[in-house]
């Protein structure tokens, strides 16, 4: 059978010594930055992206992917012990996880998170294996109009991720698209918005954009109000779950995995939405809803499974359509491009070792994470005692050196400062950076397919409406926009995001 052969190829690639080593490095780094509040996987991947330039493409992607899903594990440790989301998707885990820790049940809470995450990660990877190849097959039929509509859908859906005003999120997307047009025009070679700077001819590099908007801007926000953290170090013991605990988490883990797998595939959905959705469903289904918020183990099991399942399945749109579902995936697009591979339906066909190696390594990575997070949880707890005033100068140093090593050009370092201050300003004014980064990465793709489609149709814009797949995607985009604006859902979203702060 084809699938078995492919998995065998993937297994031999993933078990290659170097790939195994970097999968390990990736998940360790991911757990670390997931656990440490103030730095997340987006900024980390942006900083480390330039360094992976010398790696084999598959090795680079294995490591960067490991950082992303590793962060989903690490985030739960901080949520349980510090009542702070180490990673934004573990914000709901903090609600009941921290209550469990206060009652001396930090051990079972962490074990539940790790086991739920592992199960969900396994299922998510399996779904990726089963659904990615047929989807890529369909995507091979896509022409410029379909791709244009698909990118529009991805951009509109990303609004669901942004907190606050929909109009501001739309404006941020457009600003991102505009920043993406800087550089030489692909058809005529005309340099656009370069102000004569030769560095801008090839466009603004996305590494300083991401590092500035997600790294530096975040540091400035944290320095507004420096808080001390208290860590409940002594509370972590007895990681074993009782029979009663096991019985209680089976349902939430299964449901969380299902919700997470489904929402992860949606462009703009992703792991954050998944964990919030799972929490509210568990609360509604529970026979004892009053226990939620007081340390209900279901409130840890469901969301933690959901965010990890979503972390795996959000690779599906990236690997089959070349469409990043959220900023981390946008950076993965960059990782592909650095190595001369255009992400999209052709990857599975042209680079089977890369595709299957990456997929199998995700499962191995999840296994490593289970081992790292259960017996070794003590180490991560120690890491949490690193004070922030030590951490942020390190982030600045790594960001500066990492970005410089892109092309040894100081121009990229100045760009960090520019996008850092711009990102901070915009966040202060209520505009989130995620839609901007997505627009920035997808901008060139959107323009290219728009221009091609219009050439095909001789300037008739109805081409997007008469092709059925394109029309379907645009209708989905319209629905996503209406949903984002509807007051009832807006209110709910605000409640959800307030809990995140």
């Amino acid at each position: 059978m084809d699938l078995l052969q492919n998995l065998e190829l993937g297994l031999s690639t993933a078990l290659h010594a170097e790939n195994l080593l970097y999968a390990f490095v990736g998940v360790v780094l991911g757990t670390l930055v997931g656990a440490l509040p103030g730095i997340g996987p987006t900024a980390t991947i942006a900083m480390l992206l330039p360094i992976t330039f010398n790696f084999q493409p598959v090795t680079a992607l294995i490591m960067l992917a490991g950082i992303y899903y590793g962060a989903q594990y690490g985030g739960s440790t901080t949520a349980v012990l510090l009542n702070l989301p180490g990673e934004s998707s573990s914000a709901v885990t903090a609600i009941d996880g921290h209550q469990m820790a206060r009652r001396g049940r930090a051990g079972p809470a962490l074990a539940t998170a790790a086991i739920g995450s592992f199960f969900a990660g396994t299922v998510g990877t399996l779904i990726l294996v089963l659904f990615a190849p047929p989807l890529a097959h369909i995507a091979l039929e896509f022409g410029p109009p379909e791709y244009f509509s698909l990118v529009v859908l991805g951009l509109i859906a990303s609004i669901a991720l942004a907190r606050g005003s929909t109009v501001k999120a739309l404006a941020m997307i457009i600003l991102g698209l505009l920043l993406g047009t800087v550089g030489q025009d692909i058809y005529t070679g005309t340099p656009r918005f370069t102000f004569g700077a030769r560095e801008l001819y090839s466009g603004i590099n996305f590494v300083p954009v991401a590092v500035g908007m997600f790294g530096v801007a975040e540091i400035l926000r944290n320095l507004e109000d420096e808080k001390t953290r208290t860590v409940m170090v002594r509370a972590v013991k007895n990681l074993l779950l009782s029979r009663e605990d096991l019985r209680r988490i089976v349902g939430p883990v299964l449901r969380g995995t299902g919700i997470g797998s489904a929402l992860g595939v949606l462009p703009g959905g992703g792991h954050i939405l998944a964990s919030f959705t799972s929490y509210s469903i568990e609360k509604r289904l529970s026979k004892h809803p009053e226990e939620f918020g007081q340390g209900a183990i279901e409130g840890v099991a469901g969301p933690e499974s959901a965010n990890n399942a979503a972390a795996q399945t959000s690779f599906i749109p990236l690997l089959t359509l070349g469409l990043p579902a959220h900023p981390v995936m946008a950076l993965m697009v960059g990782a592909f491009i650095i190595h001369g591979i255009i992400p999209g339906p052709n990857v599975i066909v042209n680079e089977p070792a890369l595709f299957w190696g990456l997929v199998v390594s995700m499962w191995i990575g999840n296994l490593l994470l289970l081992l790292l997070n259960l017996p070794l949880v003590g180490i991560w707890v120690k890491m949490l005692t690193i004070p922030y005033r030590l951490l942020f100068p390190a982030i600045i140093a790594f960001a500066a050196i990492g970005t410089l090593s892109l092309s040894l050009n100081p121009f990229d370092v100045y760009a960090i400062a520019f996008f850092g201050i711009l990102g901070y300003l915009l966040v202060k004014l209520g505009a989130e950076p995620a839609p901007l980064l997505l627009g920035f990465v997808l901008g060139p793709l959107l323009e290219q397919h728009l221009r091609r489609a219009m050439i095909i149709s001789h300037g008739d814009p109805t081409i997007f409406l008469v092709r059925p797949i394109s029309l379907g995607l645009l209708i989905a985009a319209a629905i996503a926009l209406v949903v984002a604006v509807l007051p009832a859902i807006r209110r709910k979203r605000e409640v959800v995001f307030q809990e995140e702060d």
Partner: protein, 153 residues
Amino acid sequence: MKIRPALRDVLAGSTFVVFGLGFAVAATSYQVGTPARMGPGYFPLVLGGLLVLFGVLIVVKGFVAGEGEPIGTVPWKATALILGAVLFFGVTVRGLGLVPSLFVTVFLSALASERTGVVVGLLIAVGLTVLCVVVFVVALQLRLPLLGPWVGG
């Protein structure tokens, strides 16, 4: 009902209008073309126009029904120190070399925390410079001179 406009919305909207206008005006200097044959100026011109439109909408919303949240404090000193630190690195890394340039950069950014004084800042700078040299130069083989021509490297 609040009568005062929401400052956040007015400022955010104005920022978008400024960016939109800038891109749209600059785009007109490139060939715009027709819908069937779009020139390099077409896409940015349309987007710039849209951004101005959304910017105006946000400003209007700020006057009609703004988000009441205040802007909050801005850590001016920390912002200046951190941006200064990053820019310093860009300006001097080739002239001074990695070690001196990074040392100053880390020192400046460490001072951005209210709890870090000069002595602790220097300690952090020494520690992180050593760590970065080990990680980037020794382990990852980044080709950057440790000492640059300005300091006789």
